[in-house]
Every structure is written in structure tokens, then in C-alpha cells.
């Protein structure tokens, strides 16, 4: 793990990896969309409107997955002081918030024709909304300090505290009577969804995953480069107007 803590090595590795990730996400998302929109069958009850599922469900999976990644990165950063762990957590947060927003909006668009309502305060929707606010709180906290490391550490603790929400989201449909349907894929006893729908769903999920990985590496690279620029600016400012005492003071001693 510490082999990749060297920023220069990480920049080289990510530069090599990034084009392949973009290619993979383009292929997977492209294939997934074709499968979802044209090949997969319409639902016997919902008709063609079920195709929102192929965006909504992978986005929901990513929302929880990215939070888990963020919490894990924060834990690694707090425990081992890994140089890039904090960068990774910070880079992942807006991506996770974005996936959560996509999940909420597509779910709302799906709910209107199917349930007859844009929103309902059931356990699943409420806990995902709370997840969204946890993401926003994390982003606000890490940006609220003048010193970046202080913000990263504080955010790390918040990310770990918020992990308690992930099992609540997963099991909310089991623990409460919810309008949102129970689990059809990740459940004991195997998926209950039809295979013709499951495969496009999995392809889309892999596409989302590759897209997230590409975006994450991109954001981490920009964060490292931005830190480099900041350091260079500080060095340039210091060269122009030195903060340390000049020769006059030194001679007076």
C-alpha cells in the first residue's frame, strides 16, 4: 500500500491507467445502454418505464460503495497517515454526492408514474437522503479549515462516524414497511430479478464503476498537481519577499 503513497509514482501509474479506464467505461456504459434501452425486455407491470432502473439502481449501488471507499480511505489516512489516502477520500466525496443525487432524482422520476408520487418518507428514501447530507457535510467540513490536513483529518472522523448509515440503507427495506421494493439482487437466496434484466444491470453497474474509477484518478491527479502549484507559488512568493530575517538582522547579533 505504501508503494503507491509516493505522489510521483502515483502520477505515473495513474497516467498509464487512465486511458484504459476511460475506454473501459465508454465500452461498458455504451454496451450497457444499448442492452438496457433496446435489448432488455419491458416489465410485465411497468412496461418501458422500467428502463430507468438501469440508471437508478447502479447509481444507488455506487452511492453506498463510494461512501464505503471514502470511509475506508479516511480510516487508512487516520491510522497509517498514508499520504494519498486523504487525497482519495476528498476526491471521492463529490463523486459520491453526485451518484446519490442521480439516484434520488431518477428514483423520483420513476416514482411519479409508478407510485403516483414524487417522494415518500419511507425508510429507504429517507436514509439515502441522509446519506446525501452526510456527503455534503463531509465536503463542507474538509473545506472549512485553512490548513488542508486538519480538514482532511476532521472529515475522516466524520466519514467513519457516518458509516453507520450504510447498513441502515441496505436493510431499511427489511426492517421497515417501505414503499420502496425489497432487495432483488443482493439477497440471501440469490437474485429474484429475471436474468434478461440482471445482465444489462450488471453491465451498467460495471460501467458506472469504471467511470467512477476514472473520475477518481483524474480528481486525485488534479489535487496533487494543485498542491504542487500551491507549493511553487509559495516558494516564488518567498523568493520575492523573504520571511526569514535578512542580513542586517543577522549582522546585528
Amino acid at each position: 500500500m505504501f508503494r503507491f503513497a509516493n505522489p510521483a509514482r502515483f502520477l505515473r501509474l495513474s497516467a498509464a491507467l487512465l486511458p484504459w479506464l476511460w475506454l473501459a467505461s465508454a465500452l461498458l456504459l455504451g454496451a450497457g445502454l444499448v442492452l438496457a434501452l433496446f435489448v432488455a425486455p419491458p416489465d410485465y407491470q411497468q412496461g418501458e418505464a422500467v428502463r430507468i432502473m438501469y440508471v437508478h439502481v447502479p447509481a444507488a449501488w455506487m452511492a453506498s460503495f463510494v461512501y464505503a471507499v471514502m470511509a475506508l480511505a479516511s480510516a487508512v489516512g487516520l491510522v497509517w497517515r498514508h499520504a494519498l489516502a486523504d487525497v482519495a477520500a476528498r476526491a471521492a466525496a463529490p463523486l459520491g454526492a453526485g451518484f446519490t443525487l442521480i439516484c434520488l432524482v431518477t428514483g423520483s422520476l420513476w416514482g411519479e408514474p409508478m407510485w403516483g408520487t414524487w417522494w415518500v418518507w419511507d425508510a429507504r428514501l429517507t436514509s439515502v437522503l441522509v446519506l446525501f447530507f452526510l456527503y455534503l457535510g463531509y465536503i463542507a467540513l474538509v473545506n472549512a479549515f485553512d490548513e488542508p490536513t486538519r480538514g482532511a483529518r476532521a472529515g475522516g472522523i466524520l466519514a467513519i462516524v457516518g458509516v453507520v448509515n450504510l447498513p441502515i440503507i441496505k436493510f431499511s427495506v427489511d426492517w421497515w414497511n417501505t414503499l420502496h421494493q425489497p432487495a432483488s439482487v443482493f439477497r440471501l437466496g440469490g437474485p429474484t430479478i429475471a436474468a434478461a434484466m440482471l445482465w444489462p444491470l450488471l453491465v451498467m453497474a460495471l460501467g458506472f464503476m469504471a467511470f467512477f474509477a476514472a473520475l477518481l484518478l483524474l480528481r486525485m491527479r488534479s489535487a496533487l498537481v494543485a498542491a504542487r502549484i500551491r507549493a511553487l507559488r509559495l516558494m516564488a512568493a518567498d523568493a520575492e519577499a523573504p520571511v526569514h530575517p535578512g542580513p542586517a538582522l543577522g549582522a546585528a547579533r
Binding site: G137, A140, A144, R150, R153, A154, I157, V161
Partner: protein, 221 residues
């Protein structure tokens, strides 16, 4: 235990000497609850229906008000560093500060809530559920709020940021507190909801001091 009691006593004495904090929290609670009859109209049935929600949400916000200063005064004048060097573990110190905070800010809410419930025409059967729920819920609010207070030490716009961080974590307490009141009002059992509130309190008591102490250590670096 001696250090723990000494820390609680110190915080209580500081709070009582200042005097303003408990009174401000209580005054905000009363004023904010009174706004609702003006806002939604004085019709008793309507107020009765939303009374548990109003009381709990306002108690939540009132508890939030005094949280920012939980560690801030000690952080700014350097006593937090001295406290961190005490033999009493930082986690126990956090628990002591939360206890003092609850005694100063939480107890007035519990005392005032039944009186305000009179103004909102709360059903008679719901009063025990309201008081019991607040008794179990407000310490949990202090403990979870301490995490937020410790995380936002030295942050820009710390007060508002604290609310943004802590309110999502308050939602479970709010849900079960209101559920207990509404169940009692309808003649159903309030015990399951109160037991869940107690579970949340125990969870907060076990975990919040560790999270808050870790955040304090980050702030002191």
C-alpha cells in the same frame, strides 16, 4: 471518578457563573415553539396533531445552539491542551463535558416541554411519553453533538457547519422520540419506541466519546 466529577463540577460552575447559556437555550425553545400557533393557526386539533413534532424539532435545535461552545472556550484559551495531558482519558473527559452540557442545556428543555405541550394541546396520554423520550433523547443529542463540536473546532463558520454535520445524525433520535409520543397519543404502546431511544443512547454513550476524543486530538495537533 474523582477527575470525572471534578471536570463536571468545573463545567457546571463555569456555565452557572456565565448564566446566559441555559437561559438562552430555554428562551429559544419557548419562543420557537410559540411561533407555530402564529404560523399554522391556533386551531387546537391541528396543533394537537403536530405537537410532538414541533416539541422534538425545537428541542433538537435548542440543544444545537449551545453545542458550539462545548469545547470552543477551552480550545481558545489553551485549557484543552492542559486537559488533554490529564491522567483522566480524553474519552472520559468528553463524557464529563457532555454530562455537564446536558445538565445545563438538556434538563431545562425536559422541564419546559410539558408546559409548552399544554400550549399546543398535546393529548394527556402523551405527556409521559414526551418526558421519558426527552429524558432518553437529550443526552444522546449532547453526546452526538459533541462529535460535531469537536470536529468543527477552529473551522470557519463553525456554528452553521456544526448544524449541517449533526442534524443528519440526530434524525434517528427524532424519529423514535416523536413515534413514542404519537403512539401514546393514540393509545398504543410507547415502550418499543422508548426502548429504541434507550438503545440509541447506549450506542451514543459507547461510541461518541471515542469519536469526539479522536477529533479533539486532531484539533490539538
Amino acid at each position: 471518578m474523582n477527575g470525572f466529577a471534578a471536570l463536571v463540577g468545573r463545567d457546571l460552575r463555569l456555565a452557572l457563573r456565565q448564566g446566559g447559556d441555559a437561559a438562552t437555550v430555554a428562551a429559544f425553545f419557548v419562543l420557537a415553539v410559540i411561533l407555530f400557533p402564529f404560523g399554522v393557526g391556533p386551531e387546537p386539533l391541528l396543533l394537537q396533531r403536530i405537537a410532538p413534532g414541533i416539541l422534538w424539532v425545537m428541542a433538537l435545535l435548542a440543544a444545537l445552539l449551545s453545542l458550539e461552545r462545548l469545547f470552543l472556550a477551552d480550545y481558545e484559551d489553551g485549557s484543552l491542551e492542559a486537559l488533554a495531558l490529564m491522567t483522566l482519558p480524553l474519552e472520559a473527559q468528553v463524557a464529563a463535558k457532555c454530562l455537564a452540557h446536558w445538565l445545563v442545556s438538556g434538563l431545562p428543555l425536559i422541564v419546559l416541554a410539558p408546559l409548552l405541550a399544554l400550549l399546543l394541546h398535546l393529548e394527556a396520554a402523551a405527556y409521559p411519553a414526551l418526558v421519558a423520550g426527552l429524558l432518553l433523547g437529550t443526552p444522546a443529542l449532547s453526546l452526538v453533538g459533541a462529535i460535531g463540536a469537536a470536529l468543527t473546532l477552529g473551522a470557519r463558520r463553525g456554528g452553521v457547519l456544526l448544524s449541517l454535520l449533526v442534524l443528519p445524525l440526530y434524525i434517528p433520535v427524532l424519529i423514535f422520540g416523536v413515534a413514542a409520543c404519537e403512539a401514546a397519543a393514540q393509545g398504543l404502546a410507547m415502550r418499543p419506541h422508548l426502548l429504541l431511544l434507550a438503545a440509541l443512547l447506549v450506542l451514543a454513550l459507547a461510541l461518541a466519546p471515542f469519536a469526539a476524543a479522536a477529533a479533539l486530538r486532531q484539533a490539538l495537533e
